[in-house]
Symmetry: C2
Subunit: 240 residues, 2 copies
């Protein structure tokens, strides 16, 4: 089947993973993007962090490795949400291979498995590395045109993130280990774009029974420190 173009090329597609990392501070929901290293004067294209899957890693390992390599972020729970595989989603784009360390087969299409995540921005300080010249936190409502079909991937990730917060009523493994109820509430407000009542929110969370109170309080704040919580680890095997 199909002996196309160059000699040693197989028809097998390249497979990559892309990460849509959402970050929140006390104001806005943002998304982590990377920027090309040496832009020759012209406006640099932004993209989601992503790269090809290696031969001996599973998809989740690939996503975490690549995120670490490009942005130095580690210890983040990533959730697979969709695989994008239009035949021309990457192949057509000529001069944007800076986003991939190495196209195994430059003739072949690229199918990408997309993951998303959510982090508190102040707990993580991404640093550009490898092929990324720069990393930026971009407001989700001000995302410019991205490389490839990354706008589509981003949009679907945002949609899924919001669904996750509406149906299940908490963002499960998507948060740092320890957090306060106010942080959690703020998060819901930012993501869903609504204001919530403090007492009702706490009632609901309590009843849903997904949090465990820790023997520990917030520190380093100039007011009454809040109780810290963590999620009950249902610990879904996230290794595929």
């Amino acid at each position: 089947m199909a002996d196309s173009a160059n000699m040693h090329s197989s028809p097998n597609p390249n497979v990559s993973t892309d990460c849509v990392v959402f970050g929140f501070d006390d104001e806005k929901l943002k998304v982590l993007l990377i920027e090309q290293k040496n832009t020759g004067g012209i406006s640099p294209q932004l993209a989601l962090p992503g790269d090809l899957v290696l031969e001996n890693e599973n998809l989740y390992q690939s996503a975490t490795r690549i995120l670490k390599e490009l942005t130095n972020l580690e210890g983040i729970y990533l959730k697979q949400f969709k695989t994008f595989g239009n035949p021309n989603r990457v192949r057509d784009v000529k001069d944007q291979d800076w986003l991939r360390t190495f196209r195994e087969d430059p003739q072949a299409r690229v199918i990408t498995v997309a993951y998303y995540s959510l982090v508190k921005m102040e707990d993580f300080a991404p640093q550009a590395a490898s092929l990324a010249g720069k990393v930026v936190w971009q407001n989700v409502d001000e995302v410019p045109q991205l490389a490839f079909d990354h706008n589509q991937i981003f949009n679907e990730a945002l949609e899924r993130l919001r669904e996750e917060f509406e149906y299940k009523n908490v963002g499960y493994e998507l948060l740092p280990k320890k957090f306060t109820l106010s942080m959690l509430q703020k998060l819901h407000e930012i993501i869903l774009g609504v204001e919530l009542d403090k007492r009702n929110f706490r009632k609901k969370i309590k009843k849903s029974d997904v949090l465990i109170p820790l023997d520990e309080k917030q520190s380093g704040v100039d007011h009454k420190p809040a109780q810290l919580f963590r999620y009950k680890t249902a610990s879904k095997s996230s290794s595929i």
Copy 2:
């Protein structure tokens, strides 16, 4: 990076799609499986219908094409739900290549994009074709050991199907065009494994406002014919 094994093999993975087609009659929820053509006497292995993605089709096209080729089912809405890519999920298995028309690179791993669907069994009559020797509707609570990691894929599909019915309260594009409220209720009961109250069910559906009553009634029944409905087509572009 990795110049492994045989000469013309690239490290690019094979990519396939697998379909978990759920069927319901008035009793049970079933899943469509295929069986090897010429089993040499020994017990034949069952598997989900699936095969490699071709060079110039997108993933959704691939899934529908393969489903048609193997089981002759057509016009079914398929929903992508997860991609499975453990490095050894298929490579290790020796004698089961009957499930793939042609392994582009027999050395390389196989990453599979999984879809699920739901059909009313009487509206569709699957027929084995191509490499499938036989197709069977298997009760979801009596699924035997399947090829590869297909049990895992099946289990996750079932989980997702049930979630879909709990959170959104209807199975959107997953059903045939026209149906009665009793059919829809029966479906919910079968999928969720519970009994529902007729009046309350109708109240809820009515309020959720996802159905449109048609100018048409059921025919061919020996009792009062029921009103037919269809879904409001939000018509999500399902082409990727």
